[in-house]
Symmetry: C2
Subunit: 357 residues, 2 copies
Amino acid sequence: MSDVRIEFDRLREFVKRVFMRLGVREMDAFTVADVLVTADARGIPSHGVARLPRYIRGIREGMMIPDAEPEVVHETPVSARIDGRDGLGQPVSRMAMELAISKALENGIGMVAVFNSNHFGIAGYYAMMALEHDLIGFATTNTYPLVVPTFGRQAVLGTNPIAVAAPASRNRPFVLDMSTSVVTRGKLEVYQRLGKPIPEQWATDENGRPCTDPGRVLENFRARRPGGLLPLGGPDELTGGHKGYGLSMLVEILSGVLATARISAMSYPEGKGSGIGHFFAALDPGIFLPVKKFKADMDLLIDTVRNSEKAEGHDRIFIHGEKEFEQMERSLSDGVPLDTATFDILKSISEEFGVAI
Amino acid sequence: MSDVRIEFDRLREFVKRVFMRLGVREMDAFTVADVLVTADARGIPSHGVARLPRYIRGIREGMMIPDAEPEVVHETPVSARIDGRDGLGQPVSRMAMELAISKALENGIGMVAVFNSNHFGIAGYYAMMALEHDLIGFATTNTYPLVVPTFGRQAVLGTNPIAVAAPASRNRPFVLDMSTSVVTRGKLEVYQRLGKPIPEQWATDENGRPCTDPGRVLENFRARRPGGLLPLGGPDELTGGHKGYGLSMLVEILSGVLATARISAMSYPEGKGSGIGHFFAALDPGIFLPVKKFKADMDLLIDTVRNSEKAEGHDRIFIHGEKEFEQMERSLSDGVPLDTATFDILKSISEEFGVAI
């Protein structure tokens, strides 16, 4: 998949300049670029610079206001709610997480919800912002409706990711960043390109039956027919599909209802901003125990799990975030990996905008 | 399964009196009885009065101190940490959730962690305590190690439930109460009794391979051999097993590390209290938006999902907690359902303790 490697700073600078040409303020453009390039650098290309054309279209079609000025509309010592004013998702999310962090440093916890926002990239980016302050970080968002509830066939839920980051001492931090569906749409596109059937646990057809043809599921999305991705746990209660569906509901409650944003089912109305919402939190472990003990005990947990006996055929148990930290290191030393198709997209954007890559 | 029905109050009174005979104070005995009987009444018999013999044994063998007096050892306006002093899990959990609720009513959020505790019953009981105050409730616990991490074969994680309760207006509240494993041990016991193989996604054998023989998995538990239950999402990354494993880690961080409790892998050492921990939180939606709007928008979310199109062969989409509320209503009108085996256990306890049932 990685056919080209581009130096991290150079790629970020390119993306930043493209956004500036679209009317985004320099600081905001830097944030959007940093979130997108970090996704590629961490090995999550589905949320990386390959999405650039969608952002460009979103701004040009008026769905995203490039120079929106988000506003805190409600605030308490431990919480805030921010109106994103239909701007880009990344700058308002950075602002929200910074506010959550400052509240956590002051009062032990900070929770900030955002409404009138747009796609914010990888949830883990914001959760990880807490780490340099020795805080636990948390981020969720609702999204375009792509996921069917257990026993349903209509996509009324988003892929609704949950990200949690917690610092350790000797070890790298724990960084969980997961959609609450089995997989996201990008995985279906990969299988379609490869001409491979998808596992039965991933998606349903327009009748709500498990479907192994990725093309059919994707075509149903495009035609706005029923069908969609399945919640974590799969198609029914036997394997816990109702649990993934419940976690997805939890994300709708935090990022939609609490944030006064649109729930996923009502997001992305024709000709308007997506209206989705996010929820961020930062928690100071020091309000429970000395931070040094917290971090040392995180090491104990991580070491215990990682060093436990491996299943036949496996020689490593991964702690969440580990693979991505290793990818990041390689991206910083050897360049950020991009596949040829994505690099070609960047080259044509480079020409169109007159921004060197 | 339900061969006998006993009036709720009568069953609770019986359980309460048994615990009092074991040296538990009346208020605490009431709490333990209420949590256990509520589990049966809500249709979760795996966590109900059938566990009575285990509690009796736990107290008699000195693992649980019947008259322990839990103590708040650390406190801030939004948090507290409580030493359960090896007492029963239910009374200290009730105390902790009440403290979280009072902090939430005062400061918008309250989080209380508990260490040196024992099995607390159904997590949903405590999350639901927040509802009568129009708060969102949250409860987790770590447990006996029964779950293997992705690519592992040693059970180093608990079944680690997460419960969330959120109030609505016209609708019943949303009550999610889920283990972060595909299933809990009780399900394997049911399949063993029925002589049925279990699905491949549920458990591994002692080599870490998916295992469909429930007897083999249960025997491995008893013999303390490797093998165990799988995290939500199943045996590998293809169907998201690493996500359930990540959620289980999150519960270890909250209920184990933050609480200064034993992590599941180190819980239940021979001849001592289990040393497990819990984490409770209560959140006032009013620190984000008017509570009335929160509850009305919860209705919108619930109605949208419940009324969405059904999958072929299904005529109902369940909101989390709905089945249990309906069971509870039937239990209150017709009596709490117990199977004959459980009722026989209660009768022999009744004779032994001289407490009428």
